[in-house]
């Protein structure tokens, strides 16, 4: 009997806990009522934005570029919003799940975090977005493109997540078209590194490739820290593919690229990478072997971007003394822009100068906001997908990292 009682009690306790975490109690502050909570910002206090990107390691260009995009957006607003200064608290998510979890926990622990921007890596956003939403904080992704994050069947704990970058469903479809129609490949091997981004992109590409009539010989995997790719490449050589598709990150990607040229049977087989490798570090890590290497990427030429993009690039160069170092600065700018527009819509300031922001109202307002961003039109669907995708293929032309400039090295070769 006690046994049953204990169990019943435990079940109830778990149910109660689950209930509180899924929907926090409604709250009223300064005349603003919200289902999951209200943030009050006293007069003169900053509106705090959280940010989490990869700020160190081989993939740091991705994160630093995004952070700069947000900083420029703040600057364009004069650093102020509704009479409060804007503040960006950045955490390094290391582009992995553990880092994302730590970063989100830190940002969620700050009761004054109004909204969070990031990540640049799906691996980090996958554990982070639920932690943030549990604290009632909306999260706008800037370069985390894994399809699952905005899939119609995503779990309710992702309800607070949206992104101003495309989904890899579109990237994967475009990539399969490039491999099949342009490279005339019929047999492909894919390689992923176990990250949600690479795994899902490789899967979507393979599915589309099969639908077009191609054959996927095998789905290989390496670890992001692997250095010896010779054995796996030797295995791939026995399958005689027309092309190898490896949408992975810089360190392992550069090893694959360099070592694939040393394997008998693979000397002439093109290796195609993707957006995780658009960084000067990729050239630094691969050096001479990078010449002729192609990666698929969103189209960053001015005609494919929003109207404000050329001015944005000028501002970027002026502020940081170099051309954009990765490809998702415009998405990050638009994420910040979207966040500010959403806050402006729902925030109420009382006579004492205190601003109140309803957390659920903010999420709803963000989803309903549409505008012409510097990366293109921003308009969210019901699952938080707010951007459109325009595909392109870039080819590296020089093995000197100093020559890195998106558009020249690597230069756009398709469409």
């Amino acid at each position: 009997m006690t046994f049953i009682k204990t169990w019943a009690f435990a079940t109830l306790a778990v149910a109660a806990l689950a209930g509180t975490s899924a929907a926090q109690a409604a709250e009223t502050k300064g005349g603003v009522t919200d289902d999951i909570g209200v943030l009050a910002i006293p007069k003169g206090a900053p509106i705090q934005f959280g940010g989490y990107w990869v700020m160190s390691g081989a993939d740091s260009a991705l994160g630093i570029d995004a952070k700069r995009g947000v900083e420029i957006a703040f600057k364009d607003h004069g650093g102020m919003l509704l009479g409060h200064p804007l503040k960006l608290n950045v955490e390094d998510d290391l582009c992995n799940a553990e880092g994302g979890q730590t970063a989100a926990t830190k940002l969620a622990a700050n009761p004054n975090t109004a909204i969070v921007l990031g990540s640049a890596c799906s691996s980090a956003a996958t554990p982070a977005a639920p932690i943030l939403w549990k604290a009632g904080i909306s999260d706008i992704g800037t370069a985390d493109t894994a399809p699952s994050l905005t899939a119609p069947d995503r779990k309710p704990e992702y309800d607070g997540f949206m992104r101003t970058c495309y989904s890899d469903i579109d990237q994967g479809a475009a990539d399969s078209k490039y491999l099949y129609d342009v490279l005339k490949a019929r047999k492909v091997v894919t390689i992923h590194d176990g990250s949600p981004y690479a795994q899902q992109l490789a899967l979507v590409m393979a599915d589309n490739f099969k639908k077009m009539g191609g054959t996927v010989l095998s789905v290989e995997a390496v670890a992001p820290t692997d250095v010896d790719m010779h054995p796996v490449l030797t295995r791939i050589a026995t399958e005689k593919p027309d092309v190898i598709y490896a949408p992975i990150f810089v360190a392992a990607g550069a090893q694959l690229l360099r070592q694939s040229k040393e394997i008998p049977g693979l000397e002439k087989v093109p290796l195609i990478g993707s957006s995780g490798q658009m960084a000067p570090d990729m050239i630094e890590a691969a050096r001479a072997s990078i010449v002729g290497y192609r990666i698929t990427y969103p189209d960053l030429s001015p005609e494919a971007m929003g109207k404000g993009y050329p001015k944005f690039v000028e501002d970027y160069k002026k502020a940081y003394g170099e051309a954009p170092i990765s490809g998702y600065h415009a998405n990050a700018y638009d994420a910040a822009e979207l966040a500010m527009k959403g806050i402006e819509k729902v925030a109420k300031t009382d006579a004492s100068g205190t601003t109140y922001i309803g957390r659920k109202a903010l999420r709803d307002a963000l989803r309903a906001t549409t505008f012409e961003g510097v990366s293109g039109p921003i308009k969210c669907d019901a699952y938080g997908e707010c951007a459109q995708f325009k595909p392109a293929v870039y080819e590296f032309t020089n093995g000197d990292p100093k020559t890195y400039k998106i558009g020249d090295n690597p230069k756009k070769i398709w469409p």
Binding site: G57, S218, A221, V222, V227, T234, A251, I263, A285, R287
Partner: protein
């Protein structure tokens, strides 16, 4: 009278359970035996399956062998540092992988300088000797400094403090290099002569890989001779048998410890350059994974045993390279190389179940007991 020692049980105690002990066959034994049979099944069944399929030709098997020997010799060189320090101090020097990283970085700056002015192509032998010297000098200096500053104050502390200190040193070295030199990946130069193929048993092997294997084997032989044939080596062995007795016999233990760290540092420097010329990339965190694997190799060979570390390193490298293709392809597992570390470490555990002191560790362990 001497108490009976369970270690003195008849040989073969772990191999086949005697009938009289069947009654005491516990749940854990059943699991362990199931595990052993499972692994044997995968290894034998997979091997037969793979060979029947005939997916790989002789040249490809030979390539797997060479790749395994190459990475294995790097593991072996690093493992030597772990094993010698453990033998002398009973300390697991977790920073050892990072000491290899410092050597690789030092070599990188010299190598890129040489690549720029063409020396690396004009006179490869001279260039490689200078690169190696620079790497060894830096890694040895750092290894010795680490001992002096971080480990010596803890030498007589019992418990986990020295181990935690070693982990701290590892973080310190990583973050110092990251702070000073940046977090980005750098690539070692790639001179043409390293790619030239040489013929071994009728198969082509890139010169750089042959060079790494030969360099590793030569340095290990030299190290073995130093440990076995010199006065200092004898002192090292004496300290590792019994520190107090060695001190009473007039051996300067401090000197021996410094010498041990210096030897480990030299091997790490050579390993760093070998690693970086094959895998090209150097960055602040590069020492971590090979360090952990080399530690596994040292344990596998029998920690404290110099030939054991070499054997363990080569074993781990070969299993990583050949294992997935040989064992897993045959039983139809897709993407076998994803499971590379799993296979390597499962076999490591298996060896340790059969031989708890490692491949060559038992003799020494018994003597000390």
């Amino acid at each position: 009278m001497r108490r009976p020692n369970p270690e003195d049980a008849p040989a073969g105690r772990t191999w086949i359970p005697r009938l009289s002990s069947l009654a005491r066959f516990t749940f854990v034994d059943v699991i362990l035996w199931a595990l052993r049979i499972g692994v044997v099944f995968v290894v034998v069944g997979g091997t037969i399956g793979t060979l029947l399929k005939g997916r790989y030709d002789a040249a490809q098997w030979f390539d797997f062998l060479v790749f395994g020997l190459t990475i294995g010799s790097v593991y072996a060189l690093i493992a030597l540092g772990y094993t010698m320090v453990y033998g002398v101090l009973r300390l697991i020097n977790f920073a050892h992988g990072d000491i290899m990283m410092t050597g690789a970085f030092a070599g990188y700056y010299v190598a890129s300088e040489f690549a720029e002015d063409g020396l690396l192509d004009r006179s490869p032998v001279l260039a490689m000797v200078v690169i190696l010297t620079a790497a060894v000098a830096v890694s040895t200096t750092i290894a010795v400094l680490t001992e002096r500053i971080a480990y010596r104050p803890f030498r007589h502390v019992r418990g986990f403090a020295p181990l935690i200190c070693a982990i701290g040193v590892s973080f310190f070295l990583e973050q110092t290099f990251r702070g000073a030199l940046g977090a980005s990946i750098r690539a070692y130069p790639d001179p043409k002569w390293q790619h030239a193929m040489i013929k071994v048993f009728g198969f082509g092997v890139p010169r750089v890989e042959a060079l790494v294997v030969v360099a590793a084997i030569v340095s290990m032989i030299v190290l073995y001779l130093v440990v076995q044939r010199t006065r200092m080596g004898t002192a090292m062995r004496a300290v590792s048998e019994d520190t107090d007795a060695a001190a009473m016999m007039g051996i300067d233990v401090n000197k021996v410890v410094v010498f041990t760290f210096a030897l480990g540092g030299i091997m790490a420097g050579i390993a760093g350059v070998c690693y970086a010329f094959v895998f090209k990339q150097v960055y602040f965190f590069m020492g971590f994974t090979p360090g952990i694997k080399a530690f596994g190799a040292a344990v596998l060979g029998g920690i404290g045993s110099v030939p054991g570390a070499m054997l363990g390193g080569f074993f781990l490298g070969l299993v990583e390279s050949i294992g997935p293709a040989l064992f897993l392809d045959g039983i139809g597992i897709t993407a076998p190389y994803q499971l590379r570390d799993l296979i390597a470490f499962t076999l490591l555990i298996m060896v340790l179940i059969f031989r708890p002191y490692g491949i060559l560790g038992e003799r020494m362990a018994k003597k000390r007991a």
